[in-house]
């Protein structure tokens, strides 16, 4: 399944790209699985996600938890805790 991934703020800086389309294998079914799989793709990912529990995720522009099922998602984003307002 191809899925578009977006990165923001220091997650973006560490990964070194703003977005990409990836095709994780079928056994990657949750946000947590996706993070684990991304970490195996290179040290820039391992660095970006080194403290996994800090990273927030959104699926199709909605905040989701680590155990959210990603099947059918068009767009998944990873970012640090928000500091707007």
């Amino acid at each position: 399944m191809a899925v578009k991934i977006l990165y923001f703020a220091w997650v973006r800086e560490r990964v070194g790209k703003t977005e990409e389309v990836v095709e994780p294998p079928a056994e990657v079914t949750t946000i947590a699985d996706l993070v684990a799989w991304l970490k195996g793709r290179g040290e820039e990912y391992a660095y970006a996600f080194e403290n996994e529990t800090v990273i927030r995720a959104a699926m199709d522009q909605l905040h989701v938890h680590r155990d959210a099922v990603i099947t059918g998602a068009g767009e998944i984003a990873f970012f640090p805790p928000m500091t707007g307002g």
């Binding site: 923001f8 220091w10 905040h63 984003a77 928000m82 500091t83 707007g84 307002g85």
Partner: protein, 168 residues
């Protein structure tokens, strides 16, 4: 329309449609507030919150706000919709800027309008607490007198706690 259907809609749909804008340009807080009130004679209270960029004791040249374009709009609209459901509002505006913002310049605006002050205060307060923790914006510091861009602003535990006040 069938009266029973109309009643059901009145109970489930917020009475107002909040105005939400994500923009690089400055906003005019006074113009936004008066647009909500103009021509009305049933408004009793207007609460306007403006958040500004501070220089942090002279340390900062600017803040740079990165955002997630589509989601920023959608998420603030969701928060505003929740405020409109929780509080008896007659109008609600939320504007959040992105890009480079210098000390003394405005970052965020919330205007809440209601017949009574309690709802207007609580709605503006609620909006700001939830914006802080849910709207996908990230601040980066530009320190004064350095060529390099500074670090990302860390999120505050007190902002999480402030948002938790409204959980029910």
């Amino acid at each position: 329309m069938d009266e029973r259907i109309a009643e059901t809609i009145a109970e489930t749909v917020p009475a107002i449609v909040p105005i939400v804008r994500i923009q690089a340009e400055p906003f005019d807080a006074a113009a936004e507030a008066s647009a909500l009130v103009r021509g009305r004679t049933d408004v009793g209270a207007v609460v306007t919150f403006t958040g500004l960029c501070r220089d942090e004791g002279g340390r900062l040249a600017a803040l740079e706000l990165e955002h997630y374009p589509g989601m920023a709009q959608a998420e603030i609209a969701r928060v505003a919709g929740e405020a409109a459901r929780r509080f008896p509002l007659q109008g609600l505006v939320a504007i959040h800027r992105y890009g480079v913002i210098r000390p003394g310049e405005e970052i965020v605006l919330v205007v809440a309008v209601s017949p009574h002050r309690r709802a207007a205060f609580e709605a503006a307060d609620f909006m700001m607490d939830w914006l802080k923790t849910k709207a996908p914006f990230w601040k980066r510091e530009h320190p004064l007198g350095e060529a390099e861009t500074g670090g990302w602003v860390s999120s505050k535990a007190e902002d999480e706690r402030a948002a938790d006040r409204w959980v029910r």
